[in-house]
């Protein structure tokens, strides 16, 4: 996707690329090595991409969600079970709602974030504080 989109953004001298990693990309996760490795790769990929595209005013950042109540995960585990599993480790006492993540993505598309590139934004209620 980035390979296809970046040249267009470079040509127009503006653009925002938002990639999605995970807190597991920083902490690792037992029995999820491929997932964690892939997510760690996204973080570094995005940093490299940010350095490559910065001269053309194209910004690339990563959002790293923690456990989030998306339909896909909610099918496998109830909200109650998820909260019991996670809440003792989350200072804000709940798992994320998709809207919590959307706010971060949205901020990273606004003029207010024009000086931000190559960064990783963890949104996880304090579960992980790298």
């Amino acid at each position: 996707m980035c390979r296809e989109v970046a040249p267009i953004m470079q040509k127009q001298k503006s653009g925002r690329i938002l990639n999605t990693a995970s807190n597991y990309g920083v902490t690792g996760s037992a029995l999820r090595a491929p997932y964690a490795a892939a997510k760690a790769g996204i973080i570094t990929f995005t940093k490299s991409l940010a350095l490559e595209l910065a001269p053309d005013n194209v910004l690339a950042n990563t959002v790293a969600p923690g456990p989030t109540d998306t339909p896909r995960v909610m099918e496998k585990e109830s909200a109650e079970a998820r909260n019991q599993r996670w809440w003792p480790n989350i200072p804000l006492g709940r798992t994320a709602l998709p809207q919590d993540l959307a706010e971060m993505y949205f901020f990273l598309t606004t003029p207010e974030s024009a000086a931000i590139t190559g960064q990783t934004f963890h949104v996880n209620g304090g579960l992980v504080m790298p």
């Binding site: 940093k47 940010a50 350095l51 910065a54 001269p55 005013n57 910004l59 989350i90 200072p91 804000l92 006492g93 994320a96 709602l97 919590d100 706010e103 971060m104 949205f106 901020f107 207010e112 974030s113 024009a114 000086a115 931000i116 590139t117 190559g118 960064q119 990783t120 934004f121 963890h122 949104v123 996880n124 209620g125 304090g126 504080m129 790298p130």
Partner: protein, 249 residues
């Protein structure tokens, strides 16, 4: 308006990032306490806010002094009755000195102003936030807290410690609906880097970032505003780098 009727206390609000933050929050509907060692300048920013139609007061404070911070908090509560946002922005950068030449006095002064201020201000305002079960604390650290800087070990240590302080406090007060985060700016177009670099050096440094974007105080203030807004209610214990791509942790 993202901060309608919120009360924001901004230390270091007389100039640079603090001033930009105070003005931005006032524009977003906040009632602002502009607190700064330079009382007259703080009042001037408060006057500017009032001119924009925002409620604001300027207070002279020494953020490294327990009694002065207590007085500032008392004045803030007397004027507005509550506090929703605390921006710990006051800080010093100078003097420049190698570790082996740095005086204990300069070390202590930097640690007290940059780090001690976070402790003193949070200790004064957290109880009120706890009672109301909500609050936002945003502390300004620095990228130098991550990567260090020769002849600025005192500054680097104070800023790195802010990040540890923020994470710890975030864990303490999360259950009370209070978020605590740090912003780590890169070198910004303020008076601070001009204390030890020529204008030419400052501008060259500001232009040397990967992104062709000179980092202005408003770039930092807008991220502080984001963290103070409802949009960031699920973010705590984080330290976000705002630096035109200068470093990427």
């Amino acid at each position: 308006m993202r901060l309608k009727d919120k009360v924001a206390v901004i230390t270091g609000g007389a100039q640079g990032i603090g001033r930009a933050t105070a003005l931005m929050m006032g524009r977003e509907g906040a009632r602002v306490v502009v607190a700064d060692l330079q009382g007259e300048k703080a009042q001037s920013v408060a006057n500017e806010l009032q001119g924009m139609g925002a409620q604001a007061i300027g207070i002279a404070v020494n953020v490294a002094s327990e009694s002065s911070v207590k007085q500032m908090a008392k004045a803030a509560f007397e004027r507005f009755g509550r506090v929703d946002i605390l921006g710990n922005i006051a800080g010093i950068y100078y003097p420049k000195a190698a570790v082996v030449e740095l005086s204990e006095e300069d070390w202590d002064r930097t640690i007290d102003i940059n780090l001690g201020s976070n402790f003193l201000c949070c200790r004064e305002f957290v109880p009120a936030m706890r009672k109301q079960k909500s609050g936002r604390i945003i502390s300004v650290a620095s990228g130098i807290g991550h990567y260090g800087m020769r002849q600025f070990s005192h500054y680097a240590a104070s800023k790195a410690a802010i990040i540890g302080f923020v994470k710890s406090l975030a864990r303490e007060v999360g259950a009370d609906g209070i978020t605590v985060n740090a912003i780590c700016p890169g070198s910004a177009n303020t008076s601070m880097p001009r204390q030890h670099r020529s204008e030419e050096e400052v501008m060259e440094r500001l232009r040397s970032t990967p992104l062709p974007h000179i980092l202005e105080p408003e770039d930092i203030a807008s991220s502080i505003l984001f963290l103070a807004s409802d949009a960031a209610k699920f973010i705590t214990g984080q330290s976000y780098n705002i630096n035109s791509g200068n470093y990427m942790f």
